[in-house]
């Protein structure tokens, strides 16, 4: 078995293992072990990747494996990773690992819960390693569908509505996506020859301008829906609010990243002319979504809603930076994906813990939690500071790379947008500090909360894993940033060439 396919196989094996367990204890142990192995494998992959690059391997994708899967349509199971995919895999395994520990006490139907969770995980991993558009789409769907069950069954509040809304909106995105993908497929060989779904091969051909202009919106919006692109973001607040903790973590932390990843890996890489020409339109949308999400978060009372809107703002930043189409900004976009994935997962984990204790998510009903549960509260402050871009934590690195990169754009319009986007850092500070001030500081509002316990060991595992990752990226970002920059070269080259035309 090759090193990449293992990332899909291990979750599946873990799922099979769970079938043979009884009760919560066995299930969660198997899941934790499986994902622990996955985490180790992710670090091993990182190590292997650096080793390979140190040998001056210049190919765009490493660890390539290719099997013919469906001959008549030339569909392959084709995997390979570059630095960006490695980074995303690392992020995913960290978040999934933390997510397993956050759902340590899933009392009802634990087996089914963990199986669905792992199915989602294997879909995400499969997405990131795929090079073939068709298998990529397959894994994408595999990641999206279990969400329906996870929210609908184990969620809280208005869960049926939210599950339905989320799934339908994402399916709507998928519908656009499959059209776009088929468009790519049927134009993948303009000079005759075999049609292909392989990204690397499509990237080599130049798709006619009109075709690009026609299919770009399909692909970009299709992925953009998952990346919470304004105005297709409204599944996010409801979906997150109803989802169980681990699902919110995975969804905001990882799944929303599929959108951003797809936007540049498929839409922009394969249709560069259209990206250059239509970029401004989406740039306006993302600029709106950055500021709009941040302001939206100020007015919320529910912890999860605050975070969902903040995710809209932060994920808007990802697509915003991608659309700047230069190396620095795109580097920042990917850093932002990772950074946002980690801190938002931490946020949702913490919200889950707080909700599990106080049984409310309304910030005005809580207060003074710092004294009652110091560990959780300190972690919340750290997550908050990461979110508002404090140096030394991951958010700063990402945001600054985005701002500096975006400002390098020659066009004045793009720089004006950058300045507008910068203003979000102030608004972010406002909503983060508002929550911290109301929720954690101040006197204890509800006397019944006085006796609530602080974090248990498994919760600490979950928090500490994420915090270490956040701090590690925040303190030493150069390796990650360099790895991503290097891998962005072919994509940026294509976009630059398109700009000259």
């Amino acid at each position: 078995m090759d090193i990449l396919s293992l990332f899909v196989v291990v979750p599946i094996l873990t799922m099979v293992g769970i079938l043979f367990t009884k009760g919560l204890k066995g299930t969660r142990t198997v899941a934790a072990v499986g994902m622990g192995v996955q985490l180790v494998m992710a670090f091993n992959l990182l190590y292997q990747y650096f080793a390979e690059r140190a040998k001056d391997t210049v190919s765009e994708m490493l660890f390539r494996v290719d099997y013919l899967w469906f001959e008549s349509f030339n569909i392959h199971y084709s995997v390979g990773v570059d630095g960006i995919a490695v980074a995303m895999i690392l992020l995913t395994s960290i978040v999934v690992f933390a997510g397993i520990f956050s759902s340590w006490k899933t009392e009802d139907l634990p087996r089914e819960f963990f199986i669905a969770l792992l199915l989602l995980a294997s879909g995400v991993f499969g997405f990131f390693i795929s090079i073939d558009l068709f298998t990529m789409f397959l894994f994408y769907e595999l990641a999206v569908i279990p969400m329906y069950l996870l929210i609908g069954l184990w969620g809280s509040g208005n869960k049926e509505y939210s599950a339905m809304k989320l799934t339908l909106m994402l399916m709507g995105g998928s519908a656009l996506l499959i059209l776009g993908l088929l468009g790519l497929y049927f134009n993948s060989a303009p000079d005759g020859g075999a049609l292909t779904f392989n990204i690397l091969e499509i990237a080599k051909v130049s798709i006619p301008h009109d075709v690009q202009m026609f299919f770009f919106p399909f692909l970009f919006v299709g992925f953009g829906v998952l990346g919470a692109l304004f105005p297709f973001h409204t599944w996010s607040p409801d979906g997150h609010a109803s989802a169980p903790t681990a699902v919110s973590m995975l969804h905001a932390g990882v799944l929303m990243k599929l959108g951003g990843y797809g936007c540049f890996r498929v839409a922009m890489y394969l249709l560069p002319d259209a990206a250059q020409e239509m970029g401004w339109l989406f740039l306006i949308l993302t600029t709106v979504s950055i500021v709009y999400g941040a302001f939206g978060a100020i007015a919320q009372k529910d912890l999860k809603y605050i975070n969902a809107y903040s995710s809209v703002s932060h994920c808007g930043m990802v697509i915003f930076a991608l659309l700047m189409m230069n190396k620095t900004a795109m580097d920042g976009a990917i850093l932002q994906m990772i950074s946002h994935g980690l801190m938002t997962a931490l946020f949702f984990a913490l919200i889950g813990m707080i909700y599990g204790r106080t049984h409310t998510r309304n910030i005005y009903e809580m207060g003074g939690l710092m004294r009652i549960m110091p560990f959780i509260s300190v972690a919340y402050v750290i997550a908050g500071l990461a979110s508002l871009g404090l140096p030394g934590l991951s958010g700063f690195v990402a945001e600054m790379t985005i701002f500096v990169g975006s400002f390098q754009h020659q066009d004045v319009f793009h720089r004006v947008c950058t300045i507008l986007a910068c203003s979000a850092i102030v608004v972010t500070a406002v909503y983060i500090l508002r929550v911290v001030g109301i929720l954690l500081f101040g006197p204890v509002r509800n006397k019944e909360f006085e006796t609530l316990p602080d974090a248990k060991w498994y919760e600490k595992v979950s928090m500490v894993t994420l915090i270490i990752a956040i701090v590690a990226i925040g303190v030493a970002p150069l390796w990650l940033s360099d790895m991503i920059r290097e891998s962005l070269t072919p994509i940026v080259d294509k976009l630059t060439a398109a700009a000259i035309n």
């Binding site: 599944w235 939206g296 007015a299 190396k327 400002f407 102030v426 500090l433």
Partner: protein
């Protein structure tokens, strides 16, 4: 010469922060206190050694103090030319700041051992203090704009954590939030300024940015280009520097971004002494000083802005300070006013040689002010510790109970008033001379402020230590040794810091020049200060009814000033009413009721349509059969028709 060891000055507090912070409760309080103090003490000694090495051993090359990059690594790469480096730069101002910061920080650490004794969050407090020291030291040795921005944010957050130290007190929480958000807003300007500057020049590096040629022009050609492009009447470089100054104004509490400073006094008093009097709030001054060659040579417009903002803030704050009753708030406004002084001095300065007197004066005043203002705050802390109140109305006649505090506070009082022979006298004199030589209106403002300063400080001093005999619940007693020793050390500096020949060390272009004492400025200004003190003596030395009468007579004016010209209320109106209630609420509403409703609308329409056509699927096979039959017949007829035609 190898200066790599200077890295230890910065890293020691970081290590201490991590150690105390991670061990937290499992570490005994005493140990945490000692550890924190020892590490900053070591930093202080190293800073002294560095200063000695830099000024006396390494000395000047070609008559100019060099900028030495003692250490640097690339931390993050943006493009080939733009990268964030972390490093240590040694030049006269950074070495001076290293000394100032470590001195005050050490004194505050020692003091806190006594002041915070028995507090529940003792360890937390020390770890935050270390975090702050680390950030501040990292800021002053920054080799590039972005490193400065990084540590700029870090001091901001340490300030936030320390102001909100009493996190169960709602006012403290509100104050910390206000401080962070206000400075954050200012930092937005700073960030955009950095982006603009770096876009044109392609570098963040201070050395490259401020490199000047022999004839006193900037070597960076890009800056000249920036000077050529104009936007709304000012050149781009001026805009960039004004935006950067906005960041400085936020940190240094300059009008109109000063609103957070008085509230920041909610933090423990040692914090106010360290962060909100001596070190962090002068970061803005330091920032302007750091970029001074660009300001002075390429963007005189921006420097004019600095000058007027400084002058106005100093007058504005001095007026408010005359009416406040909270001892710490008086000191806070006094700080704002004195920082305005420093800004003003920078603003009137020119680049190079004796024309750079304002620059030297500003740095000089920064140093002396750090000493006597820290002393004032620590003294105030000692008083608050004894009286358990912040209000001057609860104090009076304390000289009998607290002799050491009384004497040291008195020294600081005289120093800030500009009493001849003490440190404040010399530094203020230089500022006034610089102002007089360059700009008469600003000079007049500065003189007025000097008089006002003498008045409100004397008012504070007299009403606390003399004035009415107050009955205390507990008889106030002198503070413990850990608190009085720092007072005495700082008092020593407050007296003698003025005798340092500053123009020999810290100048705008690195070359030493000689300053002359200007009797024509010193004598009248000293007289004005004495008048201020005299008025305060009459009004406050003994209990008297005159102040009440004066306030009654000037009722409207007095209330306006007492309420700080209602600036806070204006801010509150804009943020709470407009931004929160109108903008944020309406966006939230819009999102739920327009965008989300549209999405829900699609679902509703789909539902409606399917509901209205579902009757066709009656489930009755017979109906289907009929329809089928009819369909088949229809097609058959059409077919037959077509065929037969």
């Amino acid at each position: 010469m190898d200066f790599t060891y200077t890295l230890a000055i910065i890293l020691l507090p970081l290590v201490t922060f991590l150690t105390i912070g991670l061990l937290d409760k499992s570490m005994p309080n005493k140990l945490a206190g000692v550890l924190g103090t020892a590490s900053i003490g070591t930093s202080f000694l190293l800073a002294c050694y560095t200063a000695y090495q830099y000024f006396f051993v390494y000395g000047m090359v070609d008559g100019v103090y060099q900028k030495i990059i003692a250490y640097h690594i690339t931390w993050l790469k943006f493009t080939d030319t733009l990268h964030i480096d972390l490093g240590v730069i040694l030049d006269p101002i950074s070495v001076m700041m290293l000394l100032v910061v470590t001195t005050v920080s050490l004194m505050v650490h020692i003091y806190s051992n006594g002041y915070m004794h028995g507090e529940r969050g003792f360890n937390k407090f020390f770890s935050f203090l270390s975090l702050f020291s680390f950030s501040m030291l990292g800021l002053v040795v920054a080799t590039n704009l972005f490193q400065m921005y990084i540590f700029w944010e870090l001091v901001g957050v340490s300030s936030f954590l320390l102001i909100g130290y009493y996190y169960e007190k709602p006012s403290a929480v509100a104050a910390s939030k206000k401080a962070f958000i206000t400075t954050r807003f200012a930092d937005l300007g700073f960030l955009i300024g950095i982006l603009l500057l770096s876009w044109y020049t392609g570098t963040f590096d201070f050395v490259q940015l401020t490199q000047t040629s022999a004839i006193g022009t900037l070597e960076s050609p890009a800056i000249a280009t920036m000077g050529g492009i104009s936007f709304m009447g000012l050149s781009v470089i001026s805009w960039a520097l004004i935006l950067i100054f906005m960041g400085g104004a936020g940190k240094s509490a300059m009008f109109p971004l000063h609103i957070w400073l008085p509230d920041a006094m909610e933090g423990p008093t040692p914090v106010s002494a360290l962060i909100h009097a001596a070190t962090m709030v002068v970061a803005g001054v330091f920032l302007v000083a750091r970029l001074f060659p660009i300001y002075a040579i390429a963007a005189p417009d921006a420097l004019t802005v600095v000058m007027w903002v400084g002058a106005f803030s100093s007058l504005f704050a001095a007026i408010i300070a005359c009416t406040q009753y909270d001892i710490k708030r008086v000191l806070a406004f006094s700080t704002m006013s004195q920082i305005g002084y420093m800004m003003l001095a920078l603003g009137v300065s020119k680049y190079g040689g004796e024309n750079g007197l304002g620059f030297t004066a500003s740095m000089f005043h920064l140093t002396t002010h750090a000493m006597f203002k820290a002393l004032l705050f620590l003294g105030a802390g000692s008083i608050i510790h004894a009286v358990h109140s912040n209000s001057m109305l609860d104090m009076g006649g304390l000289r009998k109970y607290m002799p050491i505090t009384f004497i040291t506070f008195g020294i600081a009082w005289l120093a800030i008033c500009g009493f001849p022979g003490l440190s404040g006298f010399f530094s203020k004199d230089e500022i006034l001379v610089a102002a007089m030589q360059n700009n008469t209106p600003v000079f007049i403002i500065a003189v007025v402020v000097a008089g006002l300063t003498a008045f409100y400080m004397s008012r504070l001093f007299f009403s606390v230590f003399f004035g009415k005999e107050t009955k205390y619940h507990h008889t106030p007693h002198e503070s413990p040794k850990t608190m009085t020793i720092p007072l005495m050390v700082l008092a020593f500096f407050a007296i003698f810091a003025g005798y340092i020949p500053f123009s020999k060390f810290v100048t705008s272009d690195g070359a030493a020049f000689a300053t002359h004492f200007h009797w024509n400025v010193a004598i009248p200004v000293t007289l004005i200060a004495f008048i201020g003190m005299g008025i305060a003596y009459v009004l406050y030395f003994k209990e008297s009814t005159i102040p009440t009468k004066v306030t009654k007579a000037l009722k409207g004016v007095y209330t306006t000033i007492y309420n700080k010209f209602y600036i806070d209320e204006i801010y509150l109106f804009v943020t709470k009413k407009i931004l929160f209630n109108i903008v944020a609420r309406s966006i939230a509403w819009f999102d739920r009721h327009v965008i989300d409703a549209t999405m829900n609308g699609f679902a509703t329409v789909t539902n409606y349509v399917s509901n209205s056509i579902k009757g066709l699927q009656s489930g009755q096979v017979q109906k289907y059969g009929l329809v089928f039959l009819m369909g088949a017949l229809t097609f058959a007829l059409i077919f037959i028709y077509l065929v037969t035609k």
